[in-house]
């Protein structure tokens, strides 16, 4: 049997991967990865969406629902409501499959209750919001207070218990921590200096990336990272003055979460999961037990 040696994994031969942070705020990070390869970057992307444990409402026990909304629809809305699932918040919780209880217990789930009565007046309509969900765990609660769940009229009540469990995005979209999680290769715009300058192509850019500079008889490129590589400019050009391509091993990665986790946390966890998988693979190839 072939024994694999430990190889250092690099992108392009002889060059180390580099990461540069571009933008960062509460729910979103944008960064540039240099000297990496598509399979690697794509693995990170897929794991960030599909294999990060997150908490979401899984079972709803409806005691009373007088509203005109069907029970199923209400349960679906509750499921999609994002709950805080930062790593420190969900620490100690286990996946319900790995728990030894029958259905659910405090070790593998958190329960939230919703108890609301309709308005006093016949004409009024009362909207029940996500903030009306009261949780048994003070940290695991809806991220947004203002998500409308259902509407009640006079003499209508709603009473339910919702059980939130850990899960993976590959099983249901409500467990996907990211909204946008995507990369594109770094755009590369080149001009054929031998040909006559074609100002038409600058006009055609829908994102205003190309600017004509009549004085120096050139087209200037600003904020190239915003280029969507739509090639409108190439199509508008009569000659082959402009060419739009991409840098094969450089990527712009954008990761936005639904608020339930910090984007860095999602990324870190994705890297952990990937290295765990790689570790398993190596052990398997060396003939070890996985």
């Amino acid at each position: 049997m072939m024994v694999l040696e430990d190889l250092e994994v690099n992108g392009e031969e002889g060059s180390k991967m580099e990461i540069e942070l571009k933008e960062k705020n509460e729910n979103e990070i944008v960064f540039i990865i240099r000297n990496a390869e598509v399979p690697f970057v794509n693995a990170i992307r897929r794991i960030a969406m599909m294999e990060i444990p997150k908490i979401a409402i899984e079972d709803v026990n409806i005691v009373k629902n007088d509203s005109t909304m069907f029970d199923e629809v209400l349960a679906h809305r509750l499921g999609l409501t994002p709950l805080f699932s930062n790593l420190e918040v969900i620490e100690g919780l286990v996946m319900s499959e790995d728990c030894d209880c029958d259905d659910h217990c405090p070790r593998c789930s958190v329960s939230l209750t919703l108890n609301k009565t309709g308005p006093e007046n016949k004409e009024d309509i009362k909207v029940v919001y996500s903030k009306d969900l009261s949780s048994t765990d003070s940290k695991i609660k809806p991220v947004y207070d203002t998500i409308p769940l259902l509407k009640l009229k006079k003499d209508q009540d709603v009473e339910l218990e919702a059980v939130a469990k850990l899960g993976f995005g590959k099983n249901h979209a409500k467990w996907i921590p990211t909204t946008v999680c995507s990369y594109k290769q770094y755009p590369k715009i080149t001009f054929n200096e031998d040909l006559e300058v074609d100002y038409e192509c600058a006009e055609a850019c829908p994102r205003g990336i190309l600017k004509t500079d009549k004085r120096s008889k050139k087209i200037k490129v600003n904020n190239i990272e915003n280029c969507s590589m739509c090639k409108s400019c190439v199509r508008a050009s009569e000659n082959d003055y402009i060419n739009v391509g991409y840098e094969k091993n450089n990527f712009i990665f954008r990761l936005e979460t639904d608020g339930s986790m910090d984007p860095e946390e999602v990324l870190l966890k994705a890297c952990d999961v990937l290295s765990e998988k790689a570790e398993k693979f190596i052990t398997f190839c060396k003939g070890g037990k996985v």
Partner: protein, 56 residues
């Protein structure tokens, strides 16, 4: 009722629905409101712009 999340990308846009409605009622410009609320993608923007409340 407005869907909880954007159908295309999953952003919880319903959280901004009340604010959007209120400001629209005050004759503010839709573009300005959406920009200020940080709803950037057109998939999310159409969720709020095109929503018709049929459930009363």
């Amino acid at each position: 009722m407005i869907p909880v999340r954007c159908i295309s990308c999953g952003k919880p846009i319903s959280a901004f629905f009340d604010e959007y409605q209120l400001r629209i009622a005050e004759k503010e410009d839709s573009k300005v409101i959406l920009d200020e609320m940080g709803i950037k993608r057109y998939c999310c923007r159409r969720m709020l712009i095109s929503h018709v409340e049929t459930w009363e």
